[in-house]
Symmetry: C2
Amino acid sequence: MQKIAVLRWGHRFRDERLTTHVALTARAFGVCEFILADVKDEKIKATTEKIVQRWGGQFDFNMGVSWKNAVKEWKAKNGIIVHLTMYGENIQTSDVLQRIKATRKDVLVIVGSQKVPSEFYSEKISDFNVAIGNQPHSECSSLAVFLDRFFEGKSLVKGFKGWKIKVVPKPHGKHVIKHR
Amino acid sequence: MQKIAVLRWGHRFRDERLTTHVALTARAFGVCEFILADVKDEKIKATTEKIVQRWGGQFDFNMGVSWKNAVKEWKAKNGIIVHLTMYGENIQTSDVLQRIKATRKDVLVIVGSQKVPSEFYSEKISDFNVAIGNQPHSECSSLAVFLDRFFEGKSLVKGFKGWKIKVVPKPHGKHVIKHR
């Protein structure tokens, strides 16, 4: 099965909560590796790791590596790069998702912010530029919908090994069980 | 067709970018009405309205109304309340989405933050508590996936009337057209 990792580009410290949400979205939707490129933000790392400790699963949080090196490394391991951008091929009207799957290669998903380097759009970097609709919205939303569709919803029922806390779905109220 | 509005609860000023992303997600995924409950944040309103002016469509941005009054009004107009929460019925494993559609009623989607009032989970407020997976992630992601599934992806190809700028999807590079 194709593995997916996520690279977050363009994080600034004021984006703390947004980038945390991107990382948690990656984890919840079945990604095992996260790269916060070019910067280090200990607070986000700590928040994410705390969630992983409580809720389980395997999720590698890396930071500080340059996006260029991360991309180079990924390609050296025969992986492909998918850049989520509103300028790319529309996931709803094109066959871009099928083409990504057909490669059967591991995918590094790049999520940026408003102004990403123009190189991201070129063939040299991104094998695919994918638009979750061609309107401006959010890297968080784009990532969630991309992963939901890529994994055909299956990641939403994924079990996370080593959980200390777990939700039992309920129409009303809250039900949480704790692992002793 | 069922109309969807979004109510954002629990916004704090430090959440400016996150709430903006929630509003833009609502718009991009086919929602026409947004309520920033209990607070006013002129900056978010201005950012959102600027996007609407450039990219088109109809999107009412309301703020300052209390969530209680908004819910009461919505119910008085025979609408239903859907609360997105990791504690609710899993959208992937349950038939909750079908049941929501089967009501054929207009939907007010409540997206909160970590600590929402416990009343939100009760039958008195929420007709449905829906979990986009039962793991912690993001209100932005939850809203995007809920809307993507509700509209079966169709909102991602929706045209926005009165646009001044528009993207032409492209595998590589950027292509934007401007309306004279």
